[in-house]
Amino acid sequence: MPVPLTLTINGRQTTVAVEPRTLLVHFLREQLGLTGTHVGCDTSQCGACVVHVDGRSVKSCTMLAVQADGSAVTTIEGLGDGDLHPMQRAFNQHHGLQCGFCTPGMVMSGLDIVARHAAPSEDDIRDGLEGNFCRCTGYTNIIKSVHAGAQAMRGGQP
């Protein structure tokens, strides 16, 4: 039986009914049409589904939608004000994406790294991306992108 759920998605409060066994990622993708959050595995390894729940990065495949009741969820679609967020722009400037599938998770994890380290070192970034797989880039440009995104968020140029 569907149960009611009230939460704030990308700044907008929503009340919906959801099957109790629905994962947060499937709720976002299929009930809300927010398909920027991706599913790349079934063991919580790949990180393509990373979103922010109350400011903390979460693999949305490991959380039931009902567990987000009352929370504020930010997805890749909620970044920037109609244009690219500095972290997103840094990925473009530094060729931090190829096929784009891991990218939303990488950007959300990159922002989580910045939330924990305003000026992250290369090692901070490598450690912080441990839970995100990319098969295309070899990570080098993603690391550069997060570094540049952090710098831009501190007011520098990406």
């Binding site: 099957e19 066994r21 499937h26 993708r29 299929e30 927010l34 398909t35 920027g36 959050t37 991706h38 599913v39 790349g40 595995c41 079934d42 063991t43 390894q45 790949c46 393509a48 997805t75 890749i76 679609e77 970044l79 920037g80 690219l84 997103q88 990925f91 473009n92 400037q93 060729h95 994406l97 190829q98 096929c99 784009g100 599938f101 891991c102 990218t103 939303p104 950007v107 970034i125 490598r126 450690d127 991306l129 441990e130 995100n132 797989f133 990319c134 098969r135 295309c136 880039t137 070899g138 990570y139 080098t140 440009n141 993603i142 690391i143």
Partner: protein, 796 residues
């Protein structure tokens, strides 16, 4: 007019396609939903080999939300054909390869864990899974063979009853007598046995397929995560579902990585298309990662014995190779070509080895089908050649770079006919060797090794000088070698009346950045501003029939097709300009987007020509057609031959066995480079996959055919902290036979890097008495090798 230095060929232009991906607005197959769609869940074999004695679906059909359960028997009854193989290999004595049937849904026998048997269609994903739990399959388990040696053993269980000895083919290439004669007079012979470890591709987007049938038009639309939608349409129509192509539209929208694994026509594509008509509703399937592990075609899996004969001066006299290649349970689309025409033909490497003989036995096993994975045959060849060359250098006490240099094909020897069928068009191998030695600070290695040893670590350096054959493929050559298709590419350039351009390409981008690179080519050739160019790919309803993207062919073949179409646009534009400016056709010059009457100041820009082409009030009907829309098919005259030198430095902790890549230098010759930023990204990604193969990745089956490495918890993927920062450069000898001079860059990294890494690990371990290690050289494997060498070392 466009500023070509910022947007043309050679410009580091940031990618035009990035914004949608960065904003979460990419459109991958699973992002697409159709009204009324059902969700498919496949019932798969839990056994590597079994007879299907019965399938009971009644309980499943009664599960709430389940709409239908369809089986292989129903597919067979509907006359659905098997999944075809696109390459006929003819073995020794003219014996054709064995090509057993590959039904999309198995109905009498299952032959690997993951072989699909039935499909449950339901209103939701969860209902489909609930239904799948209630399908009862009565299996009679049969003995299975997972490893090549087991499959070739006397009396081994047969994967297919009508394939004796599990032997798909026994093939050879080269002059055996010449090789035997060379070995008879050799001053030194280096012997090497090696395994090229089986890999699981793991594109981060799992495969997905969504099919829809329209009873009014009798037409189908299939969305699928594919590298070549037209090829999928051709195979599904001509061989599997027997449908007319004009009734089937195949769309490969944004695709989240392929690496070869999304070239092939897979069972699920055929099943959802067939089922959509059967039930009259759209049917969607998206692989769970566990299904990807079980059903995406795997890569590599060779077992090889090789011998290199050298004369007293360290010159290579001959190479003799025996390879066993695992095909898995069925022949995937290009499986048969990988260990033959994409492998044995590359065994000359960058060297003048005058005689080469290679024998390949392809073997069926009860495992997932094996097919092309980034590099496909060429990494296996490079791994063999560059390991045995480095081993020879060590045995003879010759510097590894010097031994290679001594045997290189020299720049004045091109075009160079190898003893294994290929003619290299151009190259300069010393140029990238020298540059790599400089960038890697090869001379400073001894000091760095001392520094490591002072810290209790072992440091090693290894090299790899790779060559690959890309730009697949000259159709005549491919056809002579058994390809059942031509491997040209198609392009269309359509000007819109106000001067913007839509380019349709048969190539497919799943991370390569074609929307940027191809736009740069068109902008450069036609002088059109980059933001006025749109690249369309991936939809058979829009693009001309093309062969898609694999084998590093998109720029060399697909880009060349675009150039040919652009040349036709210029030719037509000159006629229009001549008419409008009242000059002779031959007097019109075109450059930088301007048509000029030679020697005058009479000029018309491209946009004006395009506009006049669509508003042709006074065109002479007998001489000039309206419109500015040209297409071309480009069939390459030869393969392209990218080459390069990679140098790897590792540091090994002898206490833990952990090998860390500390430095990696890559110098590649890709001919003309359109966008260096994108090319560096391709190389970086390829090297990461190569480091993955060398140090962490490896697919493991149990003896009875269970996939032990079936999740990301068990199969190690390279992560952000495994990968070093690279040193890069490029040398350039443009391809001589395509209009761009481009060679292709997509696979080089994955081809060149594994031997460089393993050579470095062995160099680090040599003082400890270790002389061989298998991939992946995990900390456990390295530590065990060190321990195993200890008694021998102590006895010295």
């Amino acid at each position: 007019m466009t500023d070509a230095t910022k947007t043309g060929i050679g410009a580091r232009l940031t990618r035009l396609e990035d914004k949608r991906f960065l904003m979460g607005r990419g459109r991958y197959t699973d992002d697409i939903s159709r009204p009324g769609q059902l969700y498919a869940h496949f019932i798969r074999s839990p056994y590597a080999s079994a007879r299907i004695k019965g399938i009971a679906v009644d309980r499943a059909a009664a599960v709430p939300g389940v709409v239908a359960v369809l089986t292989g028997a129903q597919m067979a009854a509907d006359g659905v054909g098997g999944l075809p193989c696109g390459w006929l290999v003819t073995g020794k004595g003219g014996v054709a390869m064995k090509e057993p049937p590959h039904p999309p849904l198995a109905y009498e026998r299952v032959r690997y864990v993951g072989d699909a048997i039935a499909v449950v269609l339901a209103e939701s994903r969860d209902a489909a899974k609930d239904g799948a739990e209630a399908v009862d399959v009565d299996f009679e388990e049969l003995p299975a063979v997972a490893a090549i040696a087991a499959a070739l053993a006397n009396g081994a269980p047969l994967v297919h009853d009508d394939v004796p000895g599990n032997l798909c083919y026994d093939w050879d290439l080269g002059d055996k007598a010449a090789v035997d004669a060379a070995f008879a007079k050799a001053a030194h012979v280096t012997r090497l046995g090696l395994v090229n470890n089986r890999l699981i591709p793991n594109a981060i987007e799992p495969r997905a397929a969504l099919a829809e049938y329209d009873a009014v038009t009798d037409g189908y639309t299939l969305y699928t995560s594919s590298q070549n939608p037209h090829v999928i349409r051709l195979l599904i129509c001509a061989f599997v579902l027997h449908l007319p192509e004009h009734k089937v539209r195949v769309v490969a929208p944004d695709v989240g990585g392929g690496f070869g694994s999304k070239i092939f026509h897979y069972a699920e594509e055929a099943v959802v298309t067939w089922a959509a008509r059967k039930v009259g509703r759209p049917v969607k399937w998206t692989a769970e990662r566990s299904e990807s592990f079980l059903t995406d075609a795997h890569g590599r899996d060779h077992v090889t014995e090789a011998e290199l004969a050298l004369d007293g001066n360290g010159r290579f006299l001959a190479l003799r190779v025996k390879t066993l290649a695992n095909m898995g349970a069925y022949l995937s689309t290009f499986a048969s070509s990988v260990p033959t025409y994409l492998y044995a033909t590359l065994l000359a490497g960058q060297y003048t080895t005058p005689a080469i003989y290679c024998e390949v036995k392809a073997v069926f096993t009860n495992t997932t089908p094996v097919d092309a994975y980034r590099g496909a045959g060429r990494p296996e060849a490079t791994y063999l050649v560059e390991r045995i060359v480095e081993k020879s250098a060590r045995e003879l006490g010759i510097d590894r770079a010097e031994l290679r240099r001594r045997n290189f094909i020299k720049p004045d020897q091109f075009p160079y006919q190898t003893p294994v069928a290929l003619t290299y068009d151009t190259g300069n191998y010393e140029a990238h060797l020298d540059r790599a030695l400089e960038l890697a600070d090869y001379r400073g290695f001894a000091q760095r090794r001392q520094d490591s040893e002072r810290r209790g670590k072992r440091r090693g350096i290894g090299m790899s000088c790779y060559i690959e054959a890309c730009g697949l493929a000259p159709s005549a050559v491919a056809g002579a070698l058994g390809a059942r298709a031509g491997l040209y590419e198609a392009a269309e350039i359509r000007f819109n009346p106000t001067g913007s351009v839509t380019v349709f390409t048969g190539s497919h981008s799943h991370g390569q950045g074609h929307e940027t690179t191809f736009a740069q080519v068109v902008s450069d050739r036609l002088g059109v501003p980059i933001d006025s160019i749109e690249i369309v790919h991936g939809d058979t309803g829009r693009i001309p029939f093309g062969m898609g993207t694999y084998g590093s062919r998109s720029l060399a073949v697909g880009g060349s097709a675009i150039v040919r179409a652009a040349d036709k646009i210029v030719a037509k534009g000159k006629k229009i300009a001549a008419h409008l400016m009242e000059a002779a056709d031959d007097d019109i010059e075109f450059s930088h987007g301007q048509f000029r009457v030679a020697g005058t100041d009479k000029v018309l820009p491209m946009a004006a020509i395009a506009f006049q082409a669509y508003v042709p009030h006074n065109f002479p009907h007998d001489k000039l057609e309206p419109g500015l829309d040209e297409s071309a098919f480009y069939d390459p005259a030869n393969f392209t031959f990218p080459s390069g030198t990679y140098i790897c430095e590792v540091e090994v902790d002898p206490d833990t066995g952990a090998a860390t890549v500390d430095r990696f230098t890559a110098v590649d010759d890709f001919g003309t480079i359109v966008n260096p930023m994108i090319v560096e990204g391709q190389v970086e990604g390829g090297i990461a996959q190569g480091i993955g193969q060398a140090l962490v990745e490896g697919c493991v089956y149990s003896a009875d055919g269970q996939l032990v490495t079936g999740t990301f918890m068990d199969y190690a993927m390279p992560r952000a902290d495994h990968i070093p920062n690279y040193r890069f450069d490029f040398t350039k000898t443009p391809c001589t036979h395509n209009p761009l001079g481009a060679k292709g860059c997509g696979e080089a990294g994955a081809i060149g890097s594994p031997p460089a890494v393993i050579n470095a690990v062995l160099d680090a371990l040599a003082p400890l008495g270790v002389d061989d290690i298998a991939m992946p050289a995990t900390p456990l494997a390295v530590w065990q090798a060190i321990q195993a060498a200890r008694p021998a070392k102590a006895a010295e």
